[in-house]
């Protein structure tokens, strides 16, 4: 137990000094029930695909585009550690501004006002560290205990800015900024009569520094996961996220995000195919409700799976 607490404290320190963020639409679920492995387990996975109207932490990207993610996950007893590196292509990887010759100088394009939805940061590669802890709660009498997960996430990406003279196009200023985020999410489970109710609670704080218009936001959300349906070779599922995000001039509920996913595991190639439609509605003081129809098609495949040791697995069960 002391070890767990020490590891949790270390993860918090790492996360607060590094970063964290809401999951991108192409980040697959990555739970592994600890009852499935007694010895440590390492899995490296690649995710690649493309999408339109993509959002980054409830902020719209300028363009759609391709994306990739490389994940490395270590599972040890009830602990999971992840390092993820992701990148969305087709968008600027740095902020390009033009400065007029006027007094005082003004950089264009001007950033959205405080009461508007901020722009997504430039899509430089994002590094994410995660620390998760699994714990179980009683389920139905005929079913194994329900395994839940709580996770801390820290992510960081650079936000470099280049300011050019409007007249000469010479670089007049360079800034090296960053965006950092720290978040916590936890599975929820309860029973309502004969039904299991699954969900997830999210909290995240995102802050920028070193840019000409630093923005920050705090978000709290709840995602309800509805029962999955098997249709042919596909697994279909629906989710609904509601929540609030700060610093956009609209207090209270300002996120409504249903999402639908079709999943197909291809046994011969060991590839998983995902098609996600996620219409994300956000509300700002100036813009009111805006909906972005995120659609993403992507594949994931394990690059490396290694089970360490030769000890006997737990006699509990996993589903």
């Amino acid at each position: 137990m002391r070890l767990y607490i020490a590891a949790a404290a270390l993860a918090i320190l790492v996360a607060t000094s590094a970063a964290a963020q809401q999951r991108p639409v192409f980040d697959p679920d990555d739970d592994v029930d600890p009852r499935q492995h007694d010895a440590p387990l390492l899995i490296s996975r690649i995710v690649a695909g493309g999408g339109t109207n993509l959002m980054d932490d409830y902020r719209p990207l300028r363009n759609g585009g391709g994306f990739f993610e490389l994940t490395n996950s270590l599972y040890w007893k009830q602990i999971q550690l992840d390092y993820k590196r992701s990148k969305i292509f087709g968008n600027d990887d740095k902020v390009e501004l033009q400065r007029c010759g006027c007094q005082p100088p003004i950089d264009f394009p001007t950033p959205p006002s405080a009461g508007s939805t901020p722009l997504a940061p430039p899509q430089s590669p994002k590094d994410t560290l995660q620390f998760a802890f699994y714990y179980s709660v009683p389920g139905r009498a005929t079913e194994p205990r329900v395994m839940l997960r709580a996770r801390l996430t820290g992510s960081r990406q650079s936000m470099d800015s280049v300011v050019r003279s409007f007249v000469t196009q010479e670089v007049v200023e360079r800034r090296s900024g960053r965006e950092q985020s720290f978040g916590l999410n936890a599975d929820t489970y309860f029973r309502a009569g004969r039904h299991n109710v699954w969900g997830e609670l999210f909290f995240a704080r995102t802050a920028q520094s070193g840019t000409r218009a630093d923005r920050s936001q705090t978000e709290v959300a709840y995602m309800s996961r509805f029962p999955a349906v098997v249709a042919g070779p596909l697994i279909l599922r629906a989710m609904l996220t509601v929540g609030a995000v700060s610093n956009r001039g609209a207090a209270g509920l300002n996120i409504v995000n249903p999402a639908f996913e079709a999943f197909w595991h291809l046994t011969a190639s060991r590839v998983n195919l995902h098609l996600v439609w996620s219409p994300q509605s956000t509300r700002s003081g100036n813009g009111g409700w805006e909906t972005h129809q995120q659609i993403a098609l992507f594949v994931d495949r394990a690059l490396y799976v290694h089970l360490f040791g030769r000890s006997t697995p737990s006699s509990d069960t996993a589903r």
Binding site: Q36, H265, P313
Partner: protein
């Protein structure tokens, strides 16, 4: 000097043999009520250890009626400090689970006394085979509080292993029991997620053949007629890919997450499995 060493060895050996065994001897006594006649044979499954059923003998002692057996409690915490559950198996039936009441008999021996009600719920035998033979475990879960009954029942989890690649799991109460398989990998350091075998929503206890299996098992099974020559008439068979898909679909149905990592673990665990055969009698 040699004599002294010999004496020392003798003392050490004597001390070692005098050390009490780590187990505690318990007399298991089972009283049955509501049975239609005296069963021909009675086995007891203690503490969920389905793999080691113990035959009970009918007591001939007029002071101690019922069925009895001796059992060594080798658990870390011993009975009666730790509760002891059991269920009873007959030729054509089984009971729900109960907790034992501690007693002392006339010889001052510790007795775990159970009172079981002979349930007439229909049961079936499930035959499981793997090609090539490989180790798997199975688990049976029976709820305890389906309805208020006397004597009170407890929920029970009973487990067994099949090291030779085949097992006949007897007296499965359908559809009350949740019956699942787990495949252990060659290195025995990991296991697949649960493969739910029987349909938990099944209502027809007299159902036969394929209908009794979980719908995702049936959906991913090899079609028997010409599907695979190793699959015999009356069997439901799944190839490795079908098992992995069924496991993933059952996971998603039980809990609406789509878990690529769990697929990868199952693929590792099932590397050497070619075919799973299931049959019900």
């Amino acid at each position: 000097m040699m004599d002294a060493i010999q004496i020392l060895f003798i003392l050490v050996a004597a001390a070692a043999t005098a050390t009490p065994p780590s187990g505690r001897k318990v007399v298991v006594r089972v009283d049955l009520t509501g049975c239609a006649g005296t069963p021909a044979s009675v086995d007891v499954v203690l503490d969920g250890d389905e793999g080691t059923r113990r035959p009970l003998t009918l007591s001939k002692d007029p002071k101690e009626s019922g069925w009895v057996a001796e059992w060594i409690d080798e658990r870390k915490r011993k009975f009666p400090g730790a509760r002891l559950s059991a269920s009873v198996r007959f030729n054509d039936g089984r009971t729900y689970c109960q907790f034992a009441q501690p007693e002392k008999n006339d010889n001052d021996a510790l007795v775990a006394r159970f009172l079981f009600y002979c349930d007439d719920a229909p049961v079936l035998n499930v035959t499981i085979g793997t090609i090539p033979p490989r180790i798997f475990s199975y688990e049976r879960r029976l709820p305890g509080k389906a309805r208020p009954v006397v004597p009170p029942r407890c929920a029970c989890v009973e487990k067994g292993n099949a090291v030779s690649g085949t097992a006949v799991v007897r007296q499965v109460m359908f559809p009350q029991e949740n019956f699942s398989l787990q495949f252990l990998n060659d290195a025995e350091n990991a296991r697949s997620s649960d493969l739910l075998v029987l349909d938990p929503a099944g209502e027809n206890a007299a159902a036969e053949g394929r209908e009794i299996f979980d719908d995702l098992i049936r959906k991913n099974a090899v079609v028997v007629a010409g599907g695979d020559p190793r699959c015999k008439v009356g069997e439901v068979c799944l190839r490795r890919g079908g098992i992995i898909v069924a496991l993933g679909q059952q996971r998603a149905r039980a809990r609406p997450k789509l878990l690529p990592q769990a697929y990868s673990v199952d693929e590792e665990n099932l590397q050497n499995l070619s075919l799973l055969t299931l049959a019900v009698k």
